[in-house]
Structure formats: C-alpha cells, structure tokens
Amino acid sequence: MTDAAKNSSFVYVTYIRTTPEKLWQALIEPEFTRQFWAATTQDCDWKVGSSWKLMIPDGRVGDAGEVLEIDPPRRLVLSWRNEFKPELKAEGFSRLTYLLEPQGEMVKLTVTHEMPHPGSEFIEKVSGGWPIILSSLKSLLETGESLEATRRWPEGV
C-alpha cells in the first residue's frame, strides 16, 4: 500500500491475451515499442546495472535511468528520470516496475510508477500517458495493430 503522504504513485493493470514471453519482447524490442509507444525505442542491454534510455525519434533522450532488477519474462524494474523537460528532470529519479503474471490464456500486466515524494508533477504527467500506451500495447498483441494515435511522437513535445 502506498503512503500518499510520502510518495506519488501510479498503478495500471491490464490483461492481455498473449504469453509472458511475447509481452516481454513487446516491452523491450524497438520493432514493437515504435508501434505502441509513440515511435520511441529503448537503448539498453538489459542487464542489472545497465544504463537505460528512452529515445525520442528525433534523437533526443526522453528519459534515462538504469536497470535495477530484471527477471525475464516476469519482472523488470528501472530507475527513470525525465531528461527533456527541466522541471520534470529536477524531480530526480522515479522507479518503474513491470510485473507480468500469466492467468489462463491472459497475462496480467501491472505497471507501477513511483516517485519518493508527494505531489509529483512527473507522476501526474505519466499517469496521463500510460493508459493510452498500454491500451495500444494490448491492441497490438491481440489484433496485430496498435492504436493509430500512438504510432508517432506527438507534435510539439
């Protein structure tokens, strides 16, 4: 349970008709992330301690951090700081956890994004973004097509 007085956090759960292996692949490989995650890709060699970067298609680094825990295809924990908006970067590092749990023909995906201080604007911003990204990921894995709005980086951002 989150202590709202000390932390800011966002939790999103979705159930996807796929396998943990395919979902893991979709979460890290560029040919998938480009389709459901606003044309971004991740620079990382996916080992504990590796640096992690979320790359914007124009070459800017969107967010950066490192791999804190990795247990494919079950659990991935990243430290995560925004890099392209000074006021968000100033908040420092957040913690992002992906948890993949098979349930029958579905996989339950839980995404938890936490910041160790209350009233985080960064967490408020990502709370607005995760639902469409994860909805699009579900569409991509279940239908072969991501949601149209998530296939490109938003203009002017």
Binding site: T14, G104, I132, S139, L147, A149
Partner: protein, 163 residues
Amino acid sequence: MPDFKPRTVYVTYIASTPEKVWQALTSSEFTRKYFWDRDIEIEPKLGGAFALKLPDGKVNVNGKVIGWDPPRKLSVTWKVEWPEDFRKLPECVVTYEIAKAGEAVRLTMTESHSWNVPEAILSGGRMGWPAILSSLKSLLETGHVPAIQMEPPREMIEAIKKL
C-alpha cells in the same frame, strides 16, 4: 444526494466508436460476455432503474440512473445486493465517460464514494475494473473475451465483516 468523491479511476482506449462502447456498456448481449455473465437492466432515462443480475436471476447490483447522455456519459448509483455480506456497503456511484481520441475511444470509469471508505474495500474495485474493462476492450476489438477468474480480495471481505 451526499457528496461522492472519486476514489478509483480506470482509463482505457479502445479501437471502436462511442456508439459501440455505449452499447457494450448498456446491453446484456455484451455485459454477459465481459462482466462475468451478468445481465444489465437499465431504464434509458434519468432516474431510471439500473441492475446487474446473475445468470440465476439474483440481483448483484441495484441502483438508479443519475447521468444519461448517450453516447458520452452514463452515471449510476451502485448498491451491492449480493453476496449478502456486501449489503452493508453504502451505495457508491459509477460513472462511465466516453470520448473520441483520434481514431479510438477513451473510456474512463470513475468509482466515487460518499464516506471514508477503507483502502481494503476499494481493493475490490481496483482488482475488478481492470479485468472487466480489459475484457470489454478485447470483446470490441477482437470479438473474443478471454476468461479471467477472480474472487473478491480477502482484505475486502475482512473489512466488510468489520463494518
């Protein structure tokens, strides 16, 4: 009416139209498939009766329509009648908002409460809504609804016993 405050919000984006999402929310043909076999009965007007019923006819949830604006907004009061212990829970309000978002539809579910509801009781909805609305999305996008087995969380049942 007392003041109901939003306590649980779930947002999903569906490749569909507002009209189809509205239909899926308000007709038994759909709810039976994504809402654990429940039929919906809803009078299409403000103040109309609303119920979710189990396959054996037992009433699971009872309420009233307090917001009716197809295909944009549906709001109902939500009193759990079954399981029996859950009758102790004060009614809450469930609101669905539907908006076009590019070529998709954004569906927002908000569960609002008029009392200082413990987190343990909120855990039921926080576990259930993602499963229900993920199933609704799969149904509209693929025509197929995978089964998700679920029981109310232990902590919720314990918290209700203490009410």
